[in-house]
Subunit: 197 residues, 4 copies
DNA sequence: CATGAATGAGAGTTCATTCAT
DNA sequence: GATGAATGAACTCTCATTCAT
C-alpha cells in the first residue's frame, strides 16, 4: 500500500470515527461510512472488509493518539496529588462530554466481540490494565513521598478504575450529573490523600 | 385480550428473554423470536409491535420478579453485616454468571434509548436509585447499631453501586475473574464494617 | 337469514359506507370495517366475503335510498323549468360536498370491475341511463309546453349527464369551484330554457 | 447518476407505464415492476422510492411526449374548423382506445393524491387548464375569422373539456360506444361552427 | 350465529457485497 | 486503484382468511 493509500485509509478512519460517535457501533452501516467519506462503495472495500474492521482501526487510532495525562505537563517536581487531580479532571471531562464521545460505540463493539479473545485482550482489557498499572504506580509514588495514605496500591487503582467504568457506562444509560462525578472523585481523593497538618 | 392471551404473552416474553440472553438486544429480530416461540410471523405482531416492546416487557418482568435480597431470609435479629454479605454474594453470582445473563442486552437497549426520557427514567435510573436507597438505608442501620463505621451512607451506597456497575460492564467486555470480585467486595466490607474487638 | 341477521347486515353496510366515504374503495380493508363496526373478524365473514361484496351492498343501498328529485315536491302544476333547476341544485350540492361523498370510492370500484359486465351494467351504466331517460322525458315535457327550446331531448340529456360526470370526476381530482359549477349550469339552462318575453 | 443510469431510469419508466396501463395504479406493486423490468428488487429502489414516484415519472413523461395536435400539421392557412376537427378526432381515438390506456391508473393516482396540492396542481389541473386555454384561443380565432358563432370562448372551452372528461371517465366505468362519441362531438361542432351559406 | 386468535402469503425496504468497466 | 450499478438475502409488517371454541 502506497503513501497515498495510507493517507486515504487514515482519512476513512477519522471520518468513520465521527460517524460512530454520532450513531454508536451497531447502527452504522457501510453505506453510512461511504456517504460520510464521500467515496465509492467499492472503494471502501478496498481498505476495509466491514464495519468491524473499521471500528477496530478507530480504536487503534484512539489508543495511539491518547494523550497521556501522566506524562504531559509533568515535571520532576510536580506533586503526585496534582497529577492525580489532573487525571481525575480529565476523566470528569470525558464522563460529561455528551457529544464527541465514542463510549457507547466502544461498549457495543466490545459486547459484540466479548467472545473474541483477541479483541477482548487487545482493547478493553489492555486499556483497563494499562490505566490500572499507571495509576498504581502513581499511588505507590504518592505513598513513598508521604502524600498518600498507606494502601494496597494495586487494589486501590483497580477500585478507582472500576468506579470510573461504572460512572462511564451509567453516563450512557441513565445519565449522570456533574455533582455526582464531583462527589465520587472527592471520595477517592479523601481516601487517598493524607491531609497536611 | 383474554385469559389465554395473557398466558401466551407471558410465554412469548419468557421465551424472548432467553433469546435476548443468547444474542443481546440489537442482534435479535422478530424472526428470531417467532422461531423461538414457534408461532407464526403475524401471530407475534398480535402481541407486540417490535423487539423494543418485547424487550421492555422482559425488563418489566425482570423487575417484578427480582428477588429482594434485603427482604428475604431476613428476620428481626439478622445482623446488618450479614445482610450486606448476602447482598454482595448475590451480586457476585450475577457478575460471574456467563449464561442466563441479560446484562449485555440491557445495556444495548439502554444505549439505544438513552435519549428517551421515559425509558431512561423507568429502567436504568430507577434500578440504580432504588438499589442505592436500599443500600443507604442498610448502611444507616448498620451505623446506628455500631456494626458499621460512621460514613456518609448515601455517598457510600452510591459509590458501591457505581463500583458494581463498573464490574458488571467490565464482565461483559474484558471479562472479570472471581478473584477480582472478591477483592473489590472485600475492600467494600473493610471500609464499612467495624472490626469487633 | 332471520330478522335479526338482516338488521345486522344493514348495520354493517351503513357503517362500511362511512368508511368508504372516508378512505375510498381500494384503501379499505376488512380490518377497517371490522373495527368500524366493532364486530369480530369472523363475524363479518358470515355476512360478506370481502370488501367488494360489501361495497356492492353499499351501492345497492344507495340506489334504493336515492331521493328522486323529479318525483318529490313536484305537483302537477310545477313548472318544468323549476324541476330542472331543482335537479341542477341537487347536483351542485353533491358536486361541492367534500365529505360524505362516495364518489371516489365508486369510481375506484367501477374501475376495478370495468371488465365485469354484471357490475358495469348494474351500477354505473344503469345510473347513467336512468338519469338520462328521466332528464330526456323532462326536456320533452318542457318542449311540449313551450318552456324549452326545440332540441333533440335524448341528445341533450346525455350531453348534460356527461358534463355532470366530467365535473364530478374533476371535483375529485383537480377540484372545482362553486363558480365553475354555476357557470356550467347557467350554460345548460341558457341553451335550454326559452326566454319569456 | 450517469448517462447509463438515465437510460435505465427511462427504461424503467417506459416498462412501468405498460404495467400501469394493464393493472391501473393501486394494483401495481414494486414487485410487479421489478418483474416487468427484469431487474433486481434492490435495483429498482436505486431509481425510485416507490410506485408513487414511478407513476409520477410516467405522468411527467406523458406530458412531455404529448403530441400537440394544435401545432402539428398546421400551417398558416389551415382552417380553424379543421384544427378543431383534428382535435376532436384525436380525443375520440383516445376515448375509444381500450388498451394502451393510462386513464384508469391516472384517475386512481389523482384520487389518492387529491389532498396533495403539488400533485393536484401539477397534473390534473394543469392538464385541464392548458387544454382549456388552447381550446379557448382556437375558438377565439375561429370567431374572429367568422368560422365560429359568437360565444364566450373561455366558457365554451371549459364546457367542452368537462364534456370530454365526463366521456373519458365513463369510458372507464360503464363504457361508451363510438356512436356516443360521434353524437357528442357533432353536438359540439354544431354549437360552434357557423354553417356556410 | 359469533368470536378472535392464529396463520402464512406477500408487500415494502435496506444492506453487505460483488464485479464489469 | 477506484467506481457505482446491480444483486439477492434478510427483515419488518400487514392482511385476508380460517377454525376451534
Amino acid at each position: 500500500m502506497g503513501e497515498k493509500s495510507v493517507q486515504k485509509k487514515q482519512y476513512i478512519v477519522e471520518t468513520a470515527r465521527k460517524v460512530f460517535m454520532e450513531k454508536g457501533y451497531k447502527n452504522v452501516t457501510m453505506k453510512d461510512i461511504v456517504e460520510a467519506c464521500d467515496i465509492s462503495r467499492g472503494g471502501l472495500y478496498l481498505y476495509f472488509e466491514g464495519t468491524a474492521e473499521i471500528f477496530e482501526a478507530v480504536l487503534k487510532m484512539e489508543s495511539e493518539e491518547k494523550d497521556d495525562v501522566f506524562s504531559e505537563n509533568v515535571t520532576e517536581e510536580t506533586m503526585v496529588t496534582d497529577i492525580l487531580m489532573m487525571f481525575l479532571k480529565e476523566q470528569k471531562k470525558e464522563l460529561l462530554r455528551r457529544k464527541n464521545n465514542l463510549t457507547t460505540a466502544s461498549y457495543e463493539f466490545y459486547f459484540e466481540n466479548s467472545k473474541n479473545r483477541k479483541i477482548r485482550d487487545e482493547y478493553p482489557r489492555k486499556r483497563f490494565e494499562q490505566a490500572t498499572e499507571t495509576l498504581a504506580a502513581l499511588i505507590e509514588e504518592g505513598m513513598q513521598n508521604g502524600e498518600f495514605y498507606e494502601v494496597d496500591a494495586q487494589m486501590m487503582a483497580r477500585n478507582i478504575m472500576f468506579l470510573i467504568e461504572g460512572m462511564k457506562v451509567s453516563s450512557q444509560t441513565m445519565g449522570i450529573t456533574e455533582e455526582m462525578v464531583d462527589q465520587e472523585f472527592a471520595y477517592i481523593v479523601q481516601n487517598l490523600v493524607a491531609e497536611e497538618e
